[in-house]
Amino acid sequence: MATIYIPSLMRDLTGGREIIRIEGADMRQIIANLETAYPGFRKRLLEEGTQRIKPNIAVMIDGRNARRILIDKVNEQSEIHFLPAISGGG
Amino acid sequence: MSKKVHVQTNINGEAVDFLCEPRNSLLEVLRDELDLTGAKEGCNNGNCGACNVVMDGRLVNSCCVLGVEADGCEITTIEGIGAAANLHPLQQKFLEHAALQCGICTPGFIVSAKALLDSNPNPSEDEVRYWLAGNLCRCTGYDKIVRAVLDARNGA
């Protein structure tokens, strides 16, 4: 099971839990299983009616930026973070 | 639109005639009428030096000179300082010292630095910094520009 770090402002959905463990081989499964375990995440994380992460949220898997379209693979040791997306500079 | 005036000048060693409105700056004339786009507009009020040219031996902000004022004058722009086959030592030193990043201020700096070396072939670092304080560069922090000019001095 992958380890998911829940941002403090989303911990209302997890009853205050910061770190949770979720089954899934890729991000699509992770989000689906997260929604089943803690309803509300899909609405917070995905663009309405899509399988795309909202543009203002960034997903990091093991310190690497995941793609918005949820195709990234995860493994048993993976650490997943949801962060506010940020813009680059010059 | 006002009536255009006939102006006769010598630019980079060649006789050049042009027509301009009295309100046109020399910078506008150089860029828009004569296709000499090496002089750049950064502020249009004499604060940045990107448009600098030499007029009758004096360094000027071409945005603060009217085209009609150039009548009878000799003007040197960046295009008259050196070309790829015969770069001026300042141009060569700017390249060697990586004294440019975006390059927009570079023509103005080279024109200004040449005017300095023409009048004072062996300036100190302080003199270089004082002279070039009218040219703004936002990329380099000036370090490599000052080094390039110092390295282009006679006997440097």
Binding site: K54, N56, G63, G88, G89, G90 | L132, R138, T140
Partner: protein, 758 residues
């Protein structure tokens, strides 16, 4: 041969585009000339906040020489929708309304109409003849005032969002987010020394010397071509397609040379207006901004309010830190507070952290990225608090930073764990440098002197998308097409990585930045990504060429391709020493064995490594009478991973330092009570000149980035982060007075000294 066995990397060749730039031949955005060209100008709001009651363009249209006038009514109406354009998250409706105001103007300088005429002067005359009736509204320009209940509201439909959740409160606070790790209260309880301070910074501008420009041609077939100066041609194409609601295939962007950007030349301003004017007139239309338009009508970087609290034990260990960060977004949401929060405590290993960030709309231009956006504001706060804690503990501030420095495995406050980074190595190099070890007389010429240090962090953005297309000439030189606009020498740094990979000289590669029809999608030159990301693609291109050349050699030599080796620039057949050749030698024959040799590669690495760290040391002299601060000596130390072209790495460091010095000592948007910027010129917005500075010494540390084949880290942005804090710490060392408001300009320093008896 340079270090690490590299032949090209680490050397200092003359850049490929250099001669054009020192001779004035390089073509920048405003230099383009086209047949039948018209010139455009923009009508701008004189009010910081007002409802547009009517716009009457009839007098302007009747003015001799005027060819067309456009307003927001000529733009398609766009839904409220976020889009990820390269590296900027953009609300398209806001982007459209910022190009030409619809319904309301939200800042002085907000564009309301555009004119095309036979020359610029006629266009400017016509601008004065556009009659706009306004209903002025109360305005707010300060971040804390804008957050108060009862503040004038910029967007009546805007409610605060919070990590994807929308609240029901109408407010200027567009967004609130929080990072929390551990229990800060417990951490502070463990601490022996706790310091909590408040800081303010003012709006500052990137200050590129080239003003914004765009030349548009909308031809009879509906094909739009834009020649412009931009950090990202593909990002401009995306924005044009969205704002004008036209198919992306109908838009071509030709990036001309760019005269500085620093984050400010990613958003479009003039381009859609020039396009509409061209569509209306059937002629190409060129638009260039004046300097005051650049200050008032483009995106500076925000003013901010920060409160930072940090605690440490007597044995010098940081135990907890909290930060409250409120950044001005300007007229529309989207300040760099998120990035600032990602940087604020990142050079440190702190077990208990909480960071609250607020993105706040005010009646100022929509802010934009500026070199390590958000991080300089943040470091100003953190690094002066760290200085104060070090002093209270009686330890050297750099030794304190080494002891608490982040390293591989340290968890950042926003969650992820650092991979291999050069934070401690950089700090140690500063600690041991000759400048820091030298003594400094504390008084001279009736003035007082002091030394300050500060560190900083900036991300390397995820590598991003880059494409490279190459063709090999029969003489073995290579034409290399790329989509990354070259803002300060990246043609050279990318060409050098290709040359290194295939064993050529840098001068054998001919790099060209090409238009959006001629190369694959390439993300913006920004986020410290170009030498990393497009260099990554250049390395991959070199690998593809090596594979292809082995195939060609296999045909030419009639041997199996997998028995051909490539090393030190030479292809050789394992079983016959006669069968060997350099890349160039093979290139002359390779075309006969399968047609011209070409390669196209695109990459999108999913990570970019651990980011860049810097530590700076500065000596200042303070004139107590005038409050003027002079810089005596400055040393910047930075981890570059691997320096591809050390001169341009040094140049990035020096340039960033000097922008940071300007931010720290002089630069600010000064607003009057009417909400109007009073210093919108280079004379009054005082950027550093040659006379204000000494040489800027540089020390490049190289802790290779494990996510890049040559170990590259982005170097462009982090050098702007430490200077304001380093200067504040040096001023304290000189005067005994701590300054916590930027800029530390002579009047502010003088006042602070008077109030504190310093």
């Amino acid at each position: 041969m340079s270090q690490n066995g590299h032949k090209v990397i680490g050397t200092r060749p003359i850049r490929h585009d250099g001669v054009d730039k020192v001779t004035g031949r390089a073509i920048y955005g405003a230099d383009i000339q086209l047949t039948g060209l018209l010139y455009g100008a923009i009508k701008r709001s004189p009010h910081p906040h007002a409802r547009i009651k009517s716009i009457d363009t009839s007098r302007a249209e009747a003015h001799p020489g005027v060819r067309a006038v456009v307003t927001a009514h000529d733009l398609p109406q766009i839904a409220d929708k976020l889009a990820d354009l390269g590296e900027a998250i953009v609300n398209l409706r806001d982007a459209s309304n910022n190009v030409l105001a619809y319904g309301k103007v939200l800042y002085k300088g907000h564009a309301v109409a555009g004119v095309a005429a036979v020359n610029l002067h006629v266009a400017q005359e016509a601008v004065e003849l556009i009659d706009v009736e306004y209903e002025p509204l109360p305005h707010v320009t300060g971040v804390l005032e804008a957050m108060e209940d009862g503040a004038p509201i910029l967007h009546e439909d805007m409610k605060t969002t919070s990590m994807g959740e929308e609240t029901d409160k109408v407010s200027n606070i567009a967004n609130h987010f929080q990072h929390k790790m551990g229990e800060p209260d417990d951490g502070f309880a463990e601490a022996d020394v706790v310091v909590e301070r408040e800081f303010t910074t003012q709006t500052v501008h990137q200050g590129y010397i080239e003003t914004h420009n765009a030349t548009a041609l909308w031809n009879e077939e509906g094909q739009l071509t834009i020649w412009t100066s931009t950090q990202g041609a593909f990002s401009v194409r995306d924005q044009m397609s969205e704002i004008l609601q036209m198919p992306i295939s109908k838009v071509k962007i030709v990036p001309l040379e760019i005269g500085g950007g620093f984050g400010g030349k990613i958003s479009v301003y003039l381009d859609p207006v020039a396009a509409l004017l061209s569509k209306k007139t059937g002629h190409p239309v060129k638009m260039t901004m004046t300097r005051d338009e650049v200050f008032e009508g483009t995106g500076p970087t925000p003013g901010s309010y920060l409160k930072v609290k940090m605690g440490a034990t007597n044995d010098g260990r940081l135990t907890a830190a909290t930060a409250y960060m409120a950044y001005e977004a300007g007229a529309y949401p989207g300040s760099p507070v998120g990035a600032g929060a990602g940087c604020i405590f990142t050079p440190y290993d702190i077990p208990n952290v909480q960071i609250d960030g607020y993105d706040v709309c005010v009646n100022k231009p929509k802010t934009n990225a500026y070199r390590a956006p958000g991080a300089t504001n943040a470091a100003f706060a953190t690094e002066t608090v760290v200085d104060e804690i070090s002093e209270k503990l009686g330890v050297d501030p750099l030794e304190f930073r080494v002891k608490n420095g982040a390293k591989e495995g340290t968890r950042r406050a926003d969650g992820p764990v650092h991979p291999v980074i050069g934070c401690i190595e950089t700090t140690e190099a500063a600690l041991n440098c000759e400048h820091y070890r030298s003594s400094l007389d504390k008084t001279a010429n009736g003035k007082v002197r002091g030394r300050g240090v500060a560190s900083g962090y900036w991300f390397n953005f995820n590598g991003g998308r880059s494409a490279i297309s190459v063709s090999i000439n029969p003489d073995g030189t290579i034409n290399m097409l790329e989509g990354s606009t070259d803002i300060g020498g990246s043609r050279a740094s990318i060409a050098m990585q290709l040359a290194e990979t295939i064993g050529l000289e840098a001068t054998d590669i001919k790099p060209y930045v090409v238009d959006t029809d001629s190369i694959g999608y390439t993300d913006v030159t920004g986020g410290s990504r170009t030498t990393f990301g497009t260099g990554y693609a250049a390395h991959a291109t070199g690998q593809a060429l090596i594979r292809e050349m082995k195939e060609r050699a296999s045909k030419l030599w009639d041997v199996p391709a997998d028995a051909i080796d490539f090393a030190d620039g030479v292809f050789s057949y394992r079983d016959d020493a006669e069968k060997r050749g350099t890349f160039k030698e093979l290139a002359s024959q390779a075309g006969d064995a399968g047609g011209p040799v070409v390669a196209q590669v695109s990459t999108n690495p999913d990570g970019s490594g651990g980011g860049a760290f810097a530590t700076h040391v500065v000596d200042v002299e303070v004139d107590r009478e005038t409050g003027k601060v002079d810089i005596l000596r400055y040393t910047a130390v930075q981890d570059a991973g691997t320096a591809i072209h050390p001169s341009y790495v040094e140049g990035q460091m020096q340039g960033g330092v000097v922008q940071g010095i300007g931010w720290g000592l002089n630069e600010e948007y000064i607003y009057n009570d009417a909400g109007s910027m009073t210093n919108a010129s280079f004379l009054d917005y005082r950027m550093p000149t040659t006379l204000d500075l000494p040489m800027i010494e540089t020390i490049i540390v190289e802790v290779p980035n494990e996510s890049h084949p040559y170990g590259v880290r982005g170097v462009g942005e982090v050098p702007i982060v430490p200077p304001p804090a380093a200067l504040a710490n040096a001023i304290y060392d000189a005067t005994g007075v701590r300054l916590r408001d930027l800029p530390m300009s002579p009047p502010r320093v003088q006042q602070a000294l008077a109030e504190n008896g310093g």
